[in-house]
Assembly symmetry: C2
Homo-oligomer: 409 residues x 2
């Protein structure tokens, strides 16, 4: 367990330390929940005021051309593509993650018309499972969602499976799939791989093309810091692009939206995966947020993320022997979060938040801490563990005010 001097020294030598200035952090808070909602990027307020007052207020409908709103989703997509190892013209931004699961999964099923099974992880984030189930019921005709535990996944991928929908990093434990290896297994069975990058994009380098993924989806409001409910994104491998007729065939994905023709014809390439009119305010926020990644070496982000995880695990285990680590100790097997289990998890997290250390709780018993190297220091993480230790030592969570469940956990 490192002493205070070591922690200070690590922060002094941190090659990413200057990036903290790109974010606005409230005083008195150590924020370990960037995996749920990223913090406010610096300059965001000014940029949004400009969109509201200058672009909307003054340009009015002319903003679609003058302010470039019509090209905004594609511009944002280009910034995300760089972070997930995707080429130009393979990423589309818009709608929610849930809707993007629907879009990519329906496209994948159409590419494997003789197969009827969607396979996913029993512990996948619920919306992925719900959407897959809803799609299977909508189409009927024997389509079904099947789930397997991660440990049994390889065996579950058989010749009945059309598409495998997996989240790279488990939202509860932080356990991480080997994307390239699992994709090879999926392809060997003749199925298609859809990767949910909600806990990957912006957290560490992602290599969609290298891993040969077929489709991907991801979230704009976690590690990408796009703001609450920011637009989501999706990826389609170039080999599939021209063969897809979107199930959600909205006008913005038409080859000539402003010709207003009655018949649908998909736009060239990835543009066909956009659906309705883009939400300009939320999209502009995501656009501005992504600039915080300008010049960032994602390999350095990964290295620091793992240092922070190791440090946090060591410090928490030293201070809080009653918390059970559920995140893999092996660096390659985890994303950018650390989770512990405790039956009083909810109350412990509330007590911790009251002390200014913000993580979150995931039912039934998981305390979850996200590591975001661009705005967290080793000192923050060591201090957070120390405060957690005090709360555990004093059983401070055992107070009534920490037991009232809020609507959102």
């Amino acid at each position: 367990m490192p002493d205070a001097t070591t922690v200070l020294e690590k922060d002094r030598q941190d090659p990413l330390k200057a990036f903290r200035e790109r974010f606005v952090l409230p005083d008195g808070v150590i924020y370990l929940d960037g995996n749920s909602l990223g913090v406010l990027p610096a300059g965001m307020s000014r940029r949004i005021a400009e969109v509201v007052e200058r672009e909307w207020g003054e340009r009015l409908v002319r903003g679609w051309n003058d302010a470039g709103w019509i090209d905004l989703p594609a511009r944002v997509a280009g910034k995300i593509a760089r972070l997930v190892g995707a080429g130009d013209g393979t990423v589309a931004v818009g709608d929610s993650t849930s809707v993007n699961v629907f879009k990519t999964l329906s496209a994948a099923l159409a590419l494997r018309p003789d197969r009827r099974v969607i396979l996913s992880d029993s512990n996948n984030f619920p919306t992925d499972l719900y959407i897959a189930d809803g799609l299977a019921r909508l189409i009927g005709q024997g389509y079904e969602l099947r789930t397997a535990m991660a440990a049994d996944m390889d065996d579950a991928i058989d010749a009945s499976v059309a598409a495998v929908l997996l989240t790279e990093v488990d939202y509860r434990t932080g356990w991480r799939y080997d994307m390239a290896q699992t994709t090879r297994r999926i392809h060997a069975a003749g199925a298609l791989a859809i990767w949910d990058l909600c806990h990957s994009a912006g957290a560490f380098p992602v290599h969609l093309e290298e891993a040969d993924a077929d489709f991907a989806i991801g979230c704009g409001y976690k590690y990408l810091n796009g703001g609450p409910g920011a637009p989501a994104f999706l990826y389609v491998a170039p080999r599939h692009l021209e063969g897809i007729r979107p199930a959600l065939s909205g006008w913005m994905g038409h080859q000539a939206p402003f010709a207003f023709t009655a018949d649908y014809a998909p736009a060239e390439g990835i543009a066909r995966m956009t659906v309705g009119t883009p939400p300009v305010l939320s999209m502009s926020a995501l656009d501005a947020a992504l600039d915080a990644f300008d010049g960032v070496d994602m390999e350095l982000v990964r290295a620091k993320s793992q240092d922070l995880c190791d440090l946090f695990i060591a410090e928490v285990e030293a201070h809080c022997p009653e918390l059970e680590l559920v995140t893999p100790r092996e660096r390659s097997q985890r994303g950018s979060q650390v989770s512990f289990r405790h039956p009083e998890g909810y109350a412990i997290m509330q007590a911790l938040i009251a002390e200014g250390v913000i993580g979150d709780f995931r039912a039934p018993d998981i305390l979850r801490f996200g590591m975001t190297p661009l705005y967290l220091s080793h000192g923050d993480v060591a201090r957070a563990a120390e405060i957690l230790g005090r709360i555990m030592g004093e059983k401070r969570w055992d107070r009534p005010e920490f037991r009232t469940r809020a609507k959102v956990t």
Copy 2:
């Protein structure tokens, strides 16, 4: 044709004139395009800055509870329900209009399992047709989109039709369906009625319950002034609510989203029609925009809208005999816009916009002018017609700079 004194007198006696202060209008602009993108409501910039800086920046993830983000869509829905004649708990806000067409249409089809036809208007806004076609293709099994001209609609509604998807007001001509009468015809044939209110909500009083509509969808960024790409809304008649299992079964529509269970179970009532995480910035803008309707008598809005339409028609016909009116002269048969046809429509509109009069163009030859009584005066409308008359008289549109087509028209 009224003289200048009459116009001034009408503005003096206008019971809605004080509402103009609720909006920010740029100098030198007469804005006749609120049917495409509504203007900026006053106070919007301050409200959005508060959401960005105070709620997101300072509360961070706690904003879901502290700032009430989780209840924001339902709050916004309540405000919209009042404007469209819908009861509490029947409206959901989120996603785009296109996605909401998909949600309501798929729900309607499931309620008529023995029928295979979606019927729509040949001149419906393209995204409605595209989405309906995409849904039919996705389900397969003989589902098809059939279209008919409005004049032939009654005859086209037969016992093969599961759902009829109509936009109350034609986006090109401004022609308006009789919603109650057409709904009766639809129900007599055993089909379900889905009304697209994109050019209705906020433009005049809508009576969804009175008209016995089954479903409705609508747009937040036109007459509701929610900002570019604002979230859309949908309505489900109470009698259908409990029988619907959403096709887009996302986690926010689950009965217990934060229990994170693997199996989908729809939320009680209308909440099941929400899908992913709501876009808080865009949703907050729509929320603030709807406050501009506080205390507004929509019957007065309708009366003034029709006065403005009549005035504009009379003035344009006096100044510009070469423009052909395509909007019905009969008040009850139109929405809140006036459209004219001219082969040089695109260039004429560009020349007009260059003079500060903003309307829009719809292919192939329609000049479209929206009437928004809360921020337009009779004087604005008369002046716009006069400027249009000058452009036509001088053939000012016949200049090369007005012929270059922009990406968005």
